[in-house]
């Protein structure tokens, strides 16, 4: 910065501070106006801190919830699939003990089969690291089998005496989902 421009800036500073002093003098002539001035500054800084807080909240919520690694996403879908099979097993066991009617068993198993299909598609859409390809394939196979069994019951229904056997088979498939 050359000397001339520094001098110009100095004059500008002086002029500005003189203008600011004048403004302050005008403002301070009335107590109400002065208070309003201070209030406005406080409000502006409060608004700034509120917007900072909201921005931080947004960033935190996005980062803590995380974009999710393959591992966490896959775990989520596997837990979901396992829960769906557990629900099907529960329904079939109650069907065996006579607690569920045929329409309820059919409609609810049909819904579980649809849900399993969605879960399977979500799991299939993930890109697994090389080390987990095998595990994902076996999980998908087990889930697909469970889905077709549930779908078949949803379509045709099931006799109470056959329900327990099917429940046992599905429990085996549920274990396969969990096996690493």
């Amino acid at each position: 910065m050359n000397r001339r421009s520094a001098e110009t800036l100095g004059i500008k500073d002086k002029l500005w501070s003189a203008r600011a002093r004048q403004t302050w003098h005008m403002l301070s002539s009335s107590r109400t106006v002065r208070l309003r001035y201070i209030h406005n500054i406080e409000m502006a800084s409060r608004r700034r801190s509120v917007s900072k807080f909201l921005f931080l909240l947004l960033v935190t919520s996005l980062t803590t919830s995380g974009c999710g690694s393959y591992q966490s996403q896959a775990e989520k879908y596997l837990t979901e699939a396992s829960a769906q099979i557990a629900a099907v097993v529960y329904v079939l066991e109650r069907r065996w003990s006579g607690a569920f009617t045929d329409p309820f068993t059919r409609s609810s198993l049909w819904e579980y089969a649809t849900a399993m299909q969605t879960t399977g598609e979500s799991l299939r859409s993930l890109n697994p690291p090389f080390s987990t390809i095998k595990r994902r394939a076996s999980a998908l196979k087990a889930l697909s089998q469970a889905q077709s069994l549930a779908q078949a019951v949803g379509r045709k229904g099931i006799e109470p005496n056959k329900a327990r056997k099917l429940a046992r088979r599905l429990r085996g498939l549920q274990k396969e989902l969990k096996t690493p």
Partner: protein, 408 residues
């Protein structure tokens, strides 16, 4: 005597109105995934809705205008369009989800196509609103809504550890079958389901329809506290039943029918029927209340005639609005085949997102002596409103990202 009757009816209204498809889905999901860890959200949401319901009720009792009417008068037509447009979407989603929920209950019991039931339920709903009086709609659906208390009985039958549940309300744990994102997503969903804007418009307009006067101010307070408290008991019982019966078995409530499995554990075969009855009655009642609430809101903001008790030709636009809404709702659920549970998730998420628009004006309206005379908000109510508005803003910012990440 009339006041006592109003209290009883108000309590019943609250029970019927509180538990809907959103409450059943989110409470079931919360209990089955996080045990008692999300009871705090239910309790906090209930406290918020108690304050809001008390305020809109007081507003109705002190003047001759409902909340939506006052919004237009105080803030102008352009401002009133903001909550109106937000509610138009939220209420439509809620109504369609509830029609879907009621149809799903019939589908579970009969096995007959869900789509067919959607058309039948939609038609029955339209007929009730077209022909029925306000008191029939209110008391009929609410009395039947008492069936939701079967979840409370089930919670006792299943041997809920009450001490543990009470402790977790104060000191909640995030331990469960899901990450923090899912935990907070469900919490946001609970707030979205409990603090439903349609309840405010429905309750406020109901006060006008029933001709409330200043003498109802205290009664209104009792209705808000006891009624919403009872409603919360029913919803909390769903959390408890799912936590006790389903969580240990690794079953998650990702499907509507799964919430009923807890009742089966308690009542055997009757559990299926009780669940279907609860789902049907609560969803049907909520669909009626939501679409009526919206019709009230539109007509009040636009300055048109509204009255459920009048013949359709005397309040034509009012009747036209709910008729159109029901028809489009049926088309969405039956023809487009949209899953009611997915709709519910979107509805609760969207409601959480738009909450500031609905609760924001409360602070100004409830402190205006022009509408409330000597019954303006005290410091407790004002602090409560401020906290609710803050909570609404936090929910609004976080609900959509949480919904995207939490739902995967």
């Amino acid at each position: 005597m009339k006041n006592y009757l109003s209290i009883a009816l108000g309590i019943l209204t609250a029970i019927g109105g509180y538990v809907d498809v959103g409450a059943i889905a989110t409470a079931g999901e919360a209990g089955s995934k996080f045990g008692f860890g999300l009871l705090w959200a239910m309790v906090l949401g209930t406290i918020c809705i108690i304050f809001l319901i008390e305020m809109v009720g007081r507003l109705s009792a002190m003047g001759d205008k409902a909340y939506a009417d006052i919004l237009r008068e105080k803030f102008g037509f352009k401002f009133a369009l903001l909550p109106l447009s937000a509610d138009a979407i939220a209420t439509f989603l809620i109504m369609a989800a509830n029609i879907g929920g009621a149809s799903f209950a019939l589908y579970l019991i009969t096995g007959i196509s869900f789509q067919i039931w959607t058309v039948a339920v939609g038609f029955a709903l339209w007929l009730l609103l077209w022909r029925g009086s306000f008191s029939l709609i209110e008391t009929g659906t609410s009395l039947l809504g008492l069936v939701a208390l079967c979840f409370l009985v089930a919670a006792f039958v299943l041997g809920t550890p009450w001490n543990k549940a009470a402790t977790e309300i104060v000191l909640p744990s995030i331990v469960g079958r899901g990450g923090p994102a899912e935990y907070f997503n469900i919490a946001a969903g609970i707030f979205g389901a409990v603090i439903s804007p349609y309840l405010l418009y429905f309750y406020s307009s109901g006060g006008q329809e029933e001709g409330w006067t200043r003498s109802m101010v205290r009664t209104n307070r009792v209705i808000a506290i006891v009624g919403m408290g009872f409603g919360a008991v029913a919803a909390i019982s769903i959390v408890l039943v799912c936590a006790v019966a389903l969580q240990p078995l690794g079953i998650q409530v990702d499907q509507l029918q799964t919430a009923g499995l807890g009742l089966v554990a308690a009542f055997g075969i009757w559990g299926v029927y009780l669940f279907a009855a609860t789902l049907f009655v609560c969803c049907f009642g909520a669909a009626a209340e939501s679409v009526l609430g919206f019709s009230f809101e539109v007509t009040q903001i636009m300055g048109w005639k509204y009255n459920v008790n009048k013949k359709p030709r005397d309040s034509a636009i009012f009747n036209l609005i709910f008729s159109l809404y029901i028809i489009v709702g049926i088309l969405l659920v039956a023809l487009a085949g949209i899953d009611p549970l997915e709709l519910t998730i979107f509805a609760t998420g969207f409601t959480a997102f738009m909450l500031p628009v609905v609760v924001g004006p409360f602070l100004a309206v409830m402190n205006d002596p022009m509408y409330l005379k000597d019954q303006t908000n005290g410091w407790v109510s004002n602090i409560a409103v401020l906290l609710i508005i803050m909570l609404a803003f936090i929910l609004s910012i976080t609900s959509i990202p949480l919904m995207i990440v939490g739902e995967g």
